[in-house]
Structure formats: structure tokens, C-alpha cells
């Protein structure tokens, strides 16, 4: 469907440039991270990468632990591709695109152990904190994966516990106690088009990708989650290069936190 666009993009990439004038592994500018934007949430953040604009809110609820992990709290990540943010999104329950987005963000946080789930336990076997992270794009101009992951982390960093008297949560009263973030896993999605690699795709580029690899890595470069997407396979050499780009770019994004 996008034959001509794809070959045009590739001819640009061979000249070392993107359709919007960026270098191949350059993010759009400006990158903005704003925390505490939503007062009704226990924690929130809004991330803009170029024209892409994502809001994430964290709500804290008290629930029961899973039987196999009685002394651990949990996180739940939800994403809704709001039709407000993109003419192609439709109303209705989350489709597979939204589910994948939520799960990729979830994995980055969960597997990095950014949150110590044991610290979310209130009473073993009975009461735990559930950290509910909701992703809401305001304007989808491409690369929701990286923007949402960054916003989710920033929202967690911002989150404070509401008052809890052992019976009921009083959402009107926030305590000074923060969720403790032990790590800062950053997701970078590396895209392969033809034989070139780029980051931070815009809407046009997203139409013609061959493959993508979302790489979540921590401060010391340790990987904590990955997701390959796109219709084409990757060679071992491809993956080698994409991981290097992902880890390198994560350092850059982390500075915005």
C-alpha cells in the first residue's frame, strides 16, 4: 500500500537523513517531561516528544494479593488508544495495538524491578497496594511506545500514597510517602526500514517499517525487557546493532526524568 513512500524514505535514509530532516538515530525535539499534571491521580506525568503527547496517571488501590505471592503488591497497566489522539483510532474496547502497548510498558517496569513489590504489601495474604497505571495519548504523532514508557516511569516517580486507615483509602488526603523507584528502565524502540535503523518514528515512517525492537534498559545498560514487532525477521547482526542503539539512546532519554 505504501510502496512509493517506502522507497522514498529508503532513498532519504541512504543519504543519511529522514523525511523530516532528522538524522537516523535522532529523537524529535523538544522532549518534555512534566510531572504532577493531574491532581486527581496519585501520580501523573505528561511526555511530549515532538508533536507526540501522552498523559499517564497512577491510581493506588488496596486489594488482595495473588495466592502465590501473598506478600507482594502488584501493578496493572492499561492503555487506551483514544480516538481524540489519532484519526485512525476508533471507539471501543482496547484492541490488540493498545494491549501490546500496555504490556510492553508493563514488562519494562515489572521486569526491571523498578518497584519492589514487597514494599507494596500492607498485610501479608490480606491487603496489598495495587498500582494502576493508565496510558492516555493526547496526540499520536508516532512512537507511542517510547513516550508512554517514559511517561509511565515519570508518573510512578511522582506518585504518593493516599491516606489509608487500615479499612478505607482516603483519596482526598495524600501522604508524603512516595512509591520508591529503585531503577529507571527506559524503553527505546529501534526501527528497521530496508537495511537502515532509526529511532522515534513519525506517523509516515510507522507505515513502512520492516521490523521494530523495543529495548528497555537500565542505568548500567542491563536489558530488562524487549519486544520485537513488524512483519520481517531480524538477523543476529541486526539485533546486535539495534541493542547498541537502544542502550545508547536510553541514556539520552533518561536525562529528561
Amino acid at each position: 500500500m505504501h510502496k512509493e513512500l517506502r522507497s522514498h524514505i529508503i532513498s532519504f535514509l541512504h543519504a543519511g537523513i529522514r523525511l523530516d530532516g532528522r538524522k537516523l538515530t535522532e529523537y524529535r525535539k523538544p522532549i518534555e517531561v512534566e510531572q504532577g499534571v493531574v491532581k486527581t491521580a496519585e501520580g501523573s506525568a505528561r511526555v511530549k516528544i515532538g508533536e507526540t503527547d501522552v498523559m499517564v496517571g497512577v491510581k493506588l488501590e488496596v486489594g488482595e494479593p495473588y495466592p502465590d505471592t501473598p506478600d507482594e503488591g502488584t501493578i496493572i497497566v492499561g492503555a487506551e488508544l483514544l480516538p481524540l489522539s489519532n484519526p485512525e483510532f476508533e471507539l471501543g474496547p482496547p484492541g490488540i495495538q493498545a494491549i501490546e502497548l500496555a504490556r510492553v510498558v508493563d514488562r519494562g517496569i515489572r521486569e526491571s524491578k523498578a518497584l519492589d513489590f514487597r514494599k507494596l504489601c500492607i498485610e501479608p495474604g490480606k491487603k496489598i497496594w495495587m498500582v494502576i497505571i493508565d496510558i492516555c495519548p493526547i496526540n499520536d504523532a508516532g512512537n507511542l511506545f517510547d513516550a508512554s514508557s517514559l511517561a509511565a516511569l515519570a508518573a510512578l516517580q511522582d506518585a504518593k500514597y493516599p491516606a489509608f486507615d487500615g479499612e478505607k483509602v482516603d483519596y482526598k488526603e495524600k501522604t508524603d510517602k512516595r512509591l520508591e523507584l529503585e531503577k529507571t528502565p527506559i524503553a527505546v524502540t529501534v526501527i528497521k526500514i530496508g537495511d537502515k535503523f532509526i529511532v522515534d518514528p513519525d506517523v509516515e515512517e510507522e507505515k513502512v517499517i520492516d521490523a521494530r525492537l523495543t529495548v528497555s534498559s537500565m542505568e548500567d545498560g542491563t536489558l530488562c525487557a524487549m519486544q520485537k514487532g513488524g512483519d520481517f525477521p531480524l538477523t543476529i547482526e541486526d539485533i546486535d546493532k539495534m541493542l547498541d542503539i537502544g542502550i545508547e539512546k536510553a541514556k539520552e532519554l533518561r536525562k529528561h526524568l
Binding site: 500500500m1 513512500l5 537523513i17
Partner: protein
């Protein structure tokens, strides 16, 4: 004696009173209510003698007979092609309007125009129900090969084209790009990467500053100042 309330070449918003009195006349984008002339949309108020009208500054394209537009093929049937016109309405192109070649019955139409192809075509008819018919027969009408298509504000297209095409010709000359501008707000462009980017920047500048006077000179300056890549071609 009428009183003009709005300033010439200023922005008016829906419902805003532009003038009071019966000697002023409501032009396009305005309506009369009692003594008053009011804005019927968001636009740039222009006072022309006794008439006040509003020039649209936003809004999607509406197909009009005679317009030359850029469309994407979205469906191929056995009698013709359905095209996306970048508006609320798609267009039909029948076999006889598509090419002067003879097309045998049952031929594979995708060999002429395939899904996803862009074409420059002309609207020959729009019904009251907005059924749109287009043709490929006419000067400059063709399949757009290579390059890319960008979206501009359809309301700014006349400024991007310029008087007798002067603006777009200037951009083409300065950037050595092939450019075709559709009245539906799609622009096809193909050139050397840096020059193509410069041409697009120039068009974005026109979109932003479309109502300023001396636009041609500004764009000329802009192209000269930034046109360092010409020597590379």
C-alpha cells in the same frame, strides 16, 4: 449610518458582530441578524467597500467540479477505481476516464493504477449527494511516481500556487524539485533530500504566513538564504 465593528484583516469568531447597520452587506461566511452582520464561521474579516466577508483559515476540503486534485487509489473494482480525495467523499474514476488506451473486458486494472498509487486528476462532476467523478484526461494529469505526498491546509493552496503558479514555480526553480499541488491540500514532491526539505519548509512558511503582504519576497529571501544545497545538485 452603519458602524463597522471589526477591523479589516482581523480574526473573527462564530457569532461575533462584525458591523451594525443596514448599508453594510453580509458577504460569504457572514449572516445578517436584525441590524447586525455576524460571523458565520472562524475566519479573516475582509471589508470590501460595503461588503464584509470572512476568508476561511481552516477546514477540510470540499470537492468542487473543475478542481485539480491529488488522490490515492483505495479500491479497484472491475469497472474502475475508487479514490480518496482527502475529503469526506471518495471519488470514482471509470475506465473511460482513466486512460485513452483500450482496456479489454476483464483486464486486470491494477496494471494501470494499483492500490496506494497517487494520481493527479480533475473533478468532472459532483452531485448534490457528493458523488464525485474524476478524469485523468487533461494536461498535467498523471500517475505520480516516486516522491512523496504531504498534506497542507487546503485553504492555503491558492497562496502556495501563487498568481499563475508564480510561487510554486519559484520554489521548483530554487530547489530543483518536481512539485504538483492539488487543490485538495495534497502536495506531491520529489527531489534531492536536502532540497526537498527546503521546498517543504518554504511551503510550511507560506501556510503560516499566507495572509501577510509581501509573501513572495519573503519566500524568495528564505529560499536564497537557505538554498546552499543548490551547488550540490
Amino acid at each position: 449610518m452603519s458602524k463597522i465593528i471589526v477591523q479589516d484583516k482581523s480574526i473573527a469568531v462564530p457569532g461575533e458582530t462584525l458591523a451594525v447597520g443596514m448599508d453594510m452587506l453580509p458577504g460569504s461566511g457572514t449572516y445578517r441578524e436584525g441590524e447586525s452582520i455576524k460571523a458565520n464561521r472562524l475566519g479573516l474579516a475582509v471589508i470590501d467597500g460595503r461588503t464584509i466577508k470572512l476568508i476561511p483559515l481552516s477546514g477540510r476540503y470540499i470537492p468542487k467540479t473543475g478542481d485539480t486534485i491529488i488522490c490515492k487509489v483505495i479500491d479497484v473494482s472491475f469497472s474502475g477505481w475508487r479514490l480518496d480525495t482527502n475529503s469526506a467523499y471518495s471519488a470514482m474514476m471509470s475506465m473511460k476516464d482513466a486512460t485513452s488506451e483500450f482496456i479489454a473486458r476483464g483486464a486486470n486494472l491494477t496494471q494501470y493504477y494499483d492500490l496506494g498509487d497517487y494520481v493527479m486528476c480533475k473533478i468532472v462532476n459532483v452531485t448534490s449527494q457528493k458523488l464525485v467523478d474524476v478524469t485523468m484526461k487533461g494536461p498535467g494529469l498523471r500517475k505520480l511516481r516516486g516522491g512523496r505526498v504531504i498534506e497542507v491546509d487546503p485553504n492555503k493552496v491558492p497562496r502556495i500556487i501563487g498568481k499563475q503558479g508564480s510561487m510554486v514555480i519559484m520554489i521548483k526553480d530554487a530547489t530543483k524539485c518536481n512539485i504538483s499541488v492539488g487543490q485538495n491540500g495534497l502536495v506531491w514532491i520529489d527531489g534531492e533530500p536536502l532540497n526537498e526539505l527546503l521546498a517543504i519548509q518554504a511551503m510550511r512558511k507560506i501556510e503560516r504566513e499566507s495572509h501577510l503582504s509581501g509573501l513572495t519576497d519573503k519566500i524568495k529571501d528564505f529560499l536564497e538564504k537557505n538554498g546552499v544545497h543548490r551547488t550540490n545538485v
